[in-house]
């Protein structure tokens, strides 16, 4: 595997902490193998119907479509994770390189359609051809005449995981079938399957069953699958999540139902920390686990490719540290020091450790506050989700639940001191509950997020920027009333922001183009960007109000401007009466300035700047004034005067 760079990011980067659970010798990667039952009932097309919303796919096609979508999502969101597709109950058999027919293969009627690996462009293409164009050139979607042995299927999966996904932290087998009882009363076959299932369990492979029910018949797990499925070892006792059956009906196609069930298992549940002592009060500690359900996904970085061989190959990079004499430095020689006044200030490793270690790993409540006491701007970092675990203290779950319920009811938050792991920097967090106490869960504002508690990082005084500007309230009364009508008419659907409706256009575009290039297809030149407002709808719904509002605004703005001018004049007159003649202005350059009283660089309006630029009088400004102006625009203030002028010019051209 070629993830040289990745290793470095895991151990070196601390900015976006990768989700590394401590003491874990396994790599934090996920491998998913789809096992799709190819039986005649699975292949049966749905009854034809004129209804647009009715099923069009056979169960196998729906399953393959799911796998296809899963694969594409995986490439974008989990580029290091593997997936594979194993068809079982097929007439043909195929495992690895051995392309045999009925006999020959060690696993009869198992057809490894996509090898378990990080998907390649060809895998995507091959799967797409099968599901979208129905090109089954190898005739793999033909059910076998004799039944497949589930023990074989399971052991085949075992071998695939053992060799391809060795040492993966998460390995999951997704079984999609409509057959609740593959072996009938054949006890021998049943117990062989159960034994192979235990092997998978011992290997650390979790089996996720996606049963498909037919004609509203309940898929009876007790017939066979209860002997195959184990509670995931990561789950707490007695809180099984349950197996969700997919079916067609209730206005949902089988495909949609399956997609929704499988999507909920897209990402393996990786904990960000575990066995975290959560101190509610002195002498009252429970244990919790932490997760990161929100994580900013970015397009992958560029890599270096070697084109010298037959195939383009990723070049693995290694870094060597060298000193000033270009001598390679051994790891043991490296020390950490801080730059200070042009020199390095050094602490011994023990000292450095003691400096960083203000507290051990802990989440400690220091008290509670009404949610309303947290300023609306007090945000610096995404939140972490916590959920109780009984691993440290038995009874953690019920105490956690009581706290969660209380915070929801009273609209309060906990304020806590939080050290995510040994040597992590302490932060202050607000503990905020999610979910609702309503059984139907209709009220939840975040249906896409789990119910529990969130650690919401609060900014420190150091993180608050002092914005040195004034913004007193303005007299915009009638305009406000009119604006209200506009707002009321432009609510988002269901009155919530549902992120699932807004894919990141940059990511989508990046992978769309990449996919086309990887498959040697035409590069698309546009894409629907769902983040762009529905302009037409806006115009249709509130166009009249908007036009009206704009007219009023123009009138009021004019009045406001005149009022200001009069006020300013008055003030100036008063000043002249009271004060001695003002000392000569120190201000040297006020290019193009006409209005009095605001000529210092900082307060020059864009219009004034533009005028100065057009009249070529910008260069009359002093460096100090220039820097002020640039800084106020957020532009770099380094360099010589010519550089400053150039930068300011460019800015004015673009903005003013």
């Amino acid at each position: 595997m070629a993830w040289g760079d990745d290793e470095e990011r895991r151990f070196g980067g601390d900015e976006e902490e990768e989700e590394l659970d401590e003491n874990d010798y396994k790599t934090q990667k996920d491998a998913v193998l789809f096992a799709i039952d190819v039986s005649s009932s699975m292949l049966q097309p749905p009854p034809s119907s004129d209804n647009k919303k009715s099923d069009k796919d056979s169960a196998v096609t729906a399953a393959l479509k799911c796998a296809y979508q899963f694969m594409q999502q995986r490439i974008i969101a989990q580029p290091k994770d593997m997936m594979g597709i194993l068809l079982f109950g097929t007439e043909k058999s195929k495992f690895r390189d051995e392309t045999g027919s009925r006999s020959g293969s060690g696993y009869p009627h198992c057809y490894l359609f996509t090898e378990l690996d990080v998907p390649a462009a060809e895998d995507v293409k091959k799967l797409r051809e099968l599901v979208e164009e129905g090109e089954d050139v190898d005739e793999v979607l033909v059910p076998s005449k004799e039944p497949v042995l589930m023990s074989n299927v399971l052991f085949c999966a075992n071998q695939i995981f053992t060799t391809n996904a060795a040492n993966f932290g998460s390995r999951r087998l997704f079984i999609i079938t409509d057959n609740e009882n593959p072996h009938g009363n054949d006890k021998q076959a049943k117990s062989s399957a159960a034994v192979r299932a235990k092997d998978l369990y011992d290997l650390g492979v979790a089996i996720e069953l996606f049963p498909i029910s037919r004609a509203n018949k309940v898929f009876d797990l007790s017939k066979f699958y209860d002997d195959i499925i184990y509670r995931s070892p990561a789950e707490e006792a007695d809180t099984s999540e349950g197996v969700k059956t997919s079916k067609s009906g209730d206005g949902l196609t089988l495909l949609n139902s399956l997609i929704s069930n499988i999507n909920s298992k897209q990402t393996p549940k990786r904990s960000y920390f575990s066995k975290m002592p959560f101190e509610l009060a002195p002498g009252l500690t429970i244990t919790v686990k932490g997760y990161m359900p929100l994580h900013q996904q970015k397009p992958a970085r560029t890599c270096y490719v070697w084109l010298g061989g037959e195939q383009a190959q990723l070049a693995q990079s290694e870094t060597v540290k060298i000193d000033s004499e270009a001598r390679t430095v051994e790891k043991s020689e490296i020390k950490k020091a801080y730059k200070f006044g042009g020199e390095y200030i050094y602490f011994t490793p023990e000292e450095a450790k003691s400096l960083k270690e203000l507290d051990s790993k802990v989440l400690r409540i220091i008290g509670f506050k009404p949610l309303a006491n947290i300023p609306m701007w007090a945000s610096v970092k995404k939140s972490t989700f916590i959920f109780p675990s009984e691993e440290g203290y038995v009874g953690s779950t019920r105490v956690f639940s009581a706290l969660w319920q209380k915070l929801l009811v009273s609209e309060k938050v906990g304020i806590a001191w939080f050290v995510a792991r040994k040597n992590a920097n302490p932060v202050m967090v607000a503990i905020i509950p999610s979910g609702s106490l309503n059984d139907e869960d209709q009220d939840s504002t975040v249906p896409y997020l789990p119910a529990g508690l969130w650690l919401y990082p609060l900014p420190f005084a150091d993180d608050i920027r002092n914005v040195d500007i004034k913004a007193p309230p303005k007299p915009a009364n009638e305009l406000t009333d009119k604006m209200r009508e506009i707002i009321q008419n432009l609510q988002l659907p269901k009155a919530i922001y549902n992120p699932l409706k807004y894919p990141n256009p940059a990511l989508q575009w990046h992978y769309k183009i990449l996919q086309a290039m990887a498959l040697d297809e035409d590069v698309p030149d546009e894409m629907e960007d769902l983040t762009v407002p529905k302009y037409k709808q806006i115009d249709k719904r509130v166009g009249g109000y908007l036009a009206d509002w704009k007219e009023d605004l123009a009138v009021m703005a004019k009045e406001f401007m005149e009022l200001r001018a009069t006020k300013r004049e008055l003030e100036e007159q008063e000043m002249e009466l009271v004060e001695r003649p003002r000392p000569a202005k120190r201000q040297k350059a006020a290019p193009g300035s006409t209005a009095g009283g605001r000529s210092s660089g900082h307060h020059m309006s864009n219009a004034e700047l533009k005028a100065a630029w057009e009249n070529d009088t910008l260069n009359k400004m002093t460096v100090a004034v220039l820097k002020d102006v640039l800084a106020s625009k957020g532009i770099s203030t380094t360099g010589k005067k010519a550089d400053l002028l150039e930068r300011l010019g460019a800015w004015i051209e673009e903005n003013a």
Partner: protein, 722 residues
Amino acid sequence: MADKEATVYVVDLGESMADCHNGRVESDLDFGMRYVWDKISTTVAASRKTWTLGFVGLNTDETDNDLANGGELEGYDNISVLQPIGPMSMTELRELRSRVQPSRSYGADPVSAVVVALTMIEKYTKKLKYKRRIILVTNGESKIDDEELDAIAGKLNENKVELVVIGIDFDDPEYGFKEEDKSTAKKNNEQALQQLVDKCTEGVFGTMQQAVEELSIPRIKPVRPFKAYDGPLTLGDPDKYESAISIHVERYFKTKRAPPPSASTVVVNHGFSQSQAFKDEDEDVDMGGTEFSGVKQMRTYRVNDPDAPGGKRDVDFEELAKGYQYGRTVVPFGESDMSITKYNTKKSFTIIGFIPYDSYDPFINMGETGLIVSQKMNEEAELGLSALIHALHELGSYAVARYVQKDDAQVQILLLKPNPGLEDDFECLYDVSLPFAEDVRSYQFPPLDKVLTVSRNVLKEHRLLPDDELKDAMSDFVDAMDLSNYEVDEDGKPVDYAPVDEVYNPIIHRMNQAIRARAIDPDAPIGPPAEILLRYSKPPKKLLDKAKHEIGNLIDAAELKKVPEKAKGRFGKKDAVKPLSGLDIDSLLGGQPKRAAISSENAIPEFKQMLAAAEDDETIEKAVKQMGDIIRKLIKDSFADVFYSRAAENLGVMREELLGFEMPTLYNKYLRALKKSLLSGELDGDRRGMWYKHVVGGNLGLITKEELDVSDVTEEEAKQVS
């Protein structure tokens, strides 16, 4: 901020400064210098060429200043310029440190020294834009000639110099310090200095006690406001629809995470002379000093090559093209079409729609906050934005907007929250960024208020659910521990405890204080962290006392039991794992012919099952021996590193199981032997990668005493075998 600064410290070095007063065990000079060194080192830390400082010694044995050197003026004796005004680096700091020593002199006039400092500043700063300051530190034992105070104050004001006088044991009724048995002379001198400060336009007069006490209060580095966006905020598309509205706004950062000081990677310089300073990798700063020098990174690139030894070979950087990965397919790009995958965007800020307050939860936001105000002196924008803010506020609504900071920047979705400025007189919108579809991972968790059984029943009473007693106890506890109202101010109004702007980042200031202290005195040990930095790490004691009763009740109702460490036992004590049906798989296994030997292809399950069935040490030893052989064979047969992960997984399982069986010696013995084989080339070639990357890197080292009590391997020993 980035303004130029010129500060002159005038410090009394007279013989009385060497004495200890008022119960202190450090001399007046050391006491005062705590303040001065802290100030100076802050300047040094900033490493700014435009932040300059000078140092004047008062009551020095020698006399060395321009005014006295001319020989015309009197009253400038025993005043020495120890450091002329200039930028301050560690080198100057060290030199200065050696010069700041108490003298055997007395009687020089502090005000004369101020004049010397003023002259230095005048000469250095000329008429340029500078922030000018003189800081005088004295214990007030030196006689002051107060005849010319007016003239001197006038001179200071004329030059726009701020005068700061910090006196040791000076009285300060406001702070609440009064020195008993103060000599008349000192009293007079204090008064004279107070008068001088009062005459200055900019002046501070204070006592050293307060100054030293305040040193532990963190100072926050001011950052200039950064304008992230300056342009229209639109509703509708002004290019296409006449109805669309456009408000000219400016967006600034309201919060931005301040990073703790970051350490550089350095090495100790070797014996040979370091004639030229080494350029630091990321900045063009010459790093002085001789003890350490920076380290550079050099990258090398390798590709797989079946013909090369070890299966890999180095390639030159020039041979490489840039590319992206699509799954495991690499897509090379020419330098010219690298940008083809970049989504082209235009700078814009436009509202998508609105949502009510109660449909948003703070924990879905992705990070830092911005603030949005209208363009200055633009009446249309000011009124327009104001109307939007107030309408949102009145309706209890937020706006959701699409934001592109500049052309070709990434799209962000921002939530705009109205702040009508009713309380803080600051009318603006605050914004936080919201997640995209790809940023949300759907993790499933069981419900917290009910238990679903395997048979799909819903239980409302269960040991995992709180009963009413626990719920009530929790409710009382949470209410009793309220931070928002347990303290009141003079007017009886509740005071919010630990408001955001009073809580400092403990690591940043702990590090900065320690670095400064080390820079001033390299030999001093690190002191404990300042109280203020840990103040919010625990509940306030007063509150705990108040809530004592509720806490006790909650503890009783919770009935928590600590899980004992290492509950795992040895043989047969482990609960057999069963599938949902509860079927006893082991009995099925028992029914089969006993697995005599562990097979390589199904090694982990078979190994685990053999151990689970083991009834004596011998079986375990046998299983470990077999597993060990499998691991060695995998490594031996491995072409390059293809089987390393498998071998590592097997080894990990072996380690984990032996930990559980408390048989560390078996593992440690195997591992030592394995290391020897790997490094000696005994397993068919260079297998060092297996050892370093997988065993050491995968935390599969020896089982130590710390990890498992019965182990006889110390941490030190384990480190050596790594």
